[in-house]
Amino acid sequence: MNLAITLLVALSIASIIGTVLQQNQPYTDYVLKFGPFWFEVFKQLGLYDVYSSSWFLFILLFLVMSTSTCIYRNAPNMLREMREYRQNIQLETLENFPNSHSWPLNHTMDEVQHVVQKMFSHHGYSARLKTGEDHQLISGMKGAGSRLGYILTHLAIVLICIGGLMDGNAILKAREMLGQIVPETRNLPANEVPAISHMGIDNTSFRGSVSVPEGSRTDVLFINYKDGYLVQGLPFLVEVKDFRIEHYASGQPKSFESDLVLHDERLQQPLEQTISVNHPLIYDGYSIYQASFSDGGSELELMAWPLKGSNNEPKKIETKVGDDLQIDLFKRSWVLEASDFRLFNINPSEDPAKKFQNVGPSVQFKMRNETGEAKEFLNYMLPVERDGAYYHLSGVRGSPAEEFQYLYIPMDDAGGMNRFMKFLRALNDKQVLQKIAAKQNITEQPLLSKDGAQLNEAFVRLAGLFIENGLDGIMAQVEKNVPLDKREEVAQLYVRVLQQILGAVYLDVLKEEGVDVNFGVDEKKAAFFDAASAAIGAIGRYGSPVYFQLTNFKHHQASGLQIAKAPGKNLVYPGCAMLILGVFLMFYAPQQRLWARLQPTEKGVSLILAGHSDRNNLDFSKQYSQIQAQFERVLMS
């Protein structure tokens, strides 16, 4: 019995481990967390999947065994107890019970017996009469349930554990140890995964997932196992016709659902059903759940705006999420890896009235250069508001660990990015700068040469530096070739001149648009200028030679299905029912006994009333004393 308690406690402690250390993460994460040495140690201890580690299973098995033996040992006499009326209990025992009383009566045996019988049955005790040579013993009993409860409870534990073990991946482990299966760690399409990592449809119990693009079908799924996965075959085809997300007015997701078609030659016609979270499809022992969703290869139409050079026109590019596209930009070849498309972006809203706002579609992709280095980008299709003004937003980061840094390209009056791009291109354009240099009267600028050619040189260099690396670039330049004492001054001058250049170029751009700038520009255009200048200053850090503007898309989603087969259910669920029933019986139907011993005397009868309960004795004593009082009242009347 100590064993039971020890096991219960051991099991709890073992379980704790699995909750403090996140289970079944990619092994690389663990390596990062613990370093190679401890990673290996913990791996050997099976801490990355505690609940299917051999030692944990061992504890469970032990619990099952000890509970079974416990039942085996206790059940028989408990069952006997249930039926046993203890009719050969001794006189002394009765007298020694704490709940016991005796009356000398001048009634007849029959009368007393009648009273006792009535009383017992009235209080719910079933009674048996036994006539001894010199006395009669009426034994009453109720609450046999607690015994039954004990058996049910503990039997339930056994059933549940066994069922659970069947559905856990103990069997997988065994087969792996026998070398029958090896998890696949490479990222391959199912049909290229070697047979050793395939599980046939004879696999009795599993739980895996698969992502099915709308309009396509699957007959396999993937079981995450250790640091890899296994491919599980299905005896039928699951087709996802359509996947839908519905939203609340507030923008939060309300439901995820998929229209499924299940093709099985055992069926006359395909089985159609819509599943959603909490509403799976159950078929032939398989359960199909709505688990997640992802992009199913949306078609993207991108406008690639060059951020360098002066004579590159924007280029239209078409690709699909999941594809890698080879493109050549400025004589260098890049790979555009479109990784995700989102139709909605529900972000915390700026205006306090509503919690969330939908900022529309976005595309996520990597730009990989020849050397294999890649930066990741997140571009929003629609201009996003930021204190009053609208911007085309593009996030960039060097690695998934980092936060996105955003480039804010101001939206022009037409709602596009033409003006910004013209502005940028003009800054890259020597002729334009030349024109400006000619116009500028900078005679009072001592440090700059009066010679037009050189001045133009300086302008081009300045603009170039700014586009390359923003103000930092210019500062670096200053520090490189200006003596300390003059730097301050020169820097200021450069910035001032840069301002002039930017301003002048901007005016040119506006003129070209046909804006009348003779009386200066309105606030909006001024704000645009500041934002545009800031953006250009940031291009150096942006790290991509082009800006991909999402111009059009065709959305394809993929539904993340989880498919499980758990025959253990058929043990576990009945077990659960037994457990509930058993526990309540055990607590609320305690076994209670009453005895009435009648012995004839010369005056009449001597009656001994006694009671006993194996649980909740306080309550029982209360009841007993009530019953005794009743006897008192009846018999002494």
């Binding site: 100590n2 709890s12 739980r207 909490n278 359960s287 759940y289 526990v583 607590f587 306080l618």
Partner: protein, 391 residues
Amino acid sequence: MNSTRAALQFELDKQSFWKGLSLFDWLWAIVVLLGTAYAYSSYATLMDVYEKGILISMAATLIALGWHWKAIRPLSLAVFLLSIFGISRYVNGLGDAELDFFLRFLVSSQSAIMWMSALYVLATVTYFVAFVGRSDFVGKVASAMTWSATAMGLVGLMVRWRESYLIGLDVGHIPVSNLYEVFILFSIITALLYLFYERRYQTRALGFFVLLVISAAVAFLLWYAFDRQAADIEPLVPALKSYWMKIHVPANFVGYGAFALAAMVAVAYLVRAQAEKSGANSVWLTLPSLEILDDLMYKSIALGFAFFTLATILGALWAAEAWGGYWSWDPKETWALIVWLNYAAWLHMRLTKGWRGKPMAAWAIVGLFVTLFAFLGVNMFLSGLHSYGEL
């Protein structure tokens, strides 16, 4: 000798359950049945068979409860009337909560819950005064406060339920869907369990101890509401949109409440044991006898264990529907198991090894901390599938 038979007959009749019912018992039954009939006739068309079943069994439960525990009747009536009143004050949508006097200061879910909080804290103090001052009257006041607090809490939940529908028909849901709401539920259930035993054992001495936990819960509730705006009604995430939630969560909180009660009784036990040891006749000796405390501790742990078993199993069934497996070793699940195993061990200790007294009391207190972690700590420190309120 017929006198004996007469006396016997008399006794049996007096004892007979049905004959024992008073006029008020029958009145109560009729009131409940009328209410149920009304609800049924007006909403049956909107209810599926389960909901009809639930409605009817609720009526039966309420009648039985009212028969065995009379105090439930005024409570139910008060909650009913105030809730109806509160709901009826909402005419042009949620905005009324600020405009309408009664909503603003009494029966909007926010105000009702504030009343509940205030009353529970007051009751705690009052119980203490009653205990130290050994004043029966003050004790009665404390009980009254606790009852009113409970009523206001229930009203708060009822009205909140309605408010959720005022936000949007698709948003509406039973208020047991996030940490804020279940904390209210926890306070109410713990209080009700306590009040039951207060009557059963005819002692108010434990009120102070039990109300301490409730006050702690209230403190958390207020912090959570004001610091984290947790009081806002949020639409349900898809995973929570399930019938199971409606039974799983309340069952769980009967368990939590009972465990909390047991732990506080255990505290009382240790205090009294200490007082007895030191011999001096301190005020603590007015606590119920150790035997009674031990019995009460066992009873509430048993009750908690039974309901917690039920709740965990319901949770498993729900998981089977929502996550594709009845058991996923998700941290919340696992901690529920740990709590359960812990109390199973406790029960074995007591029953099969016959342990009693201080160690068991201490264990019951530890048990509360384990439970507390399962119910709060997991959300705070561990990540998992449970979409319950992250802190």
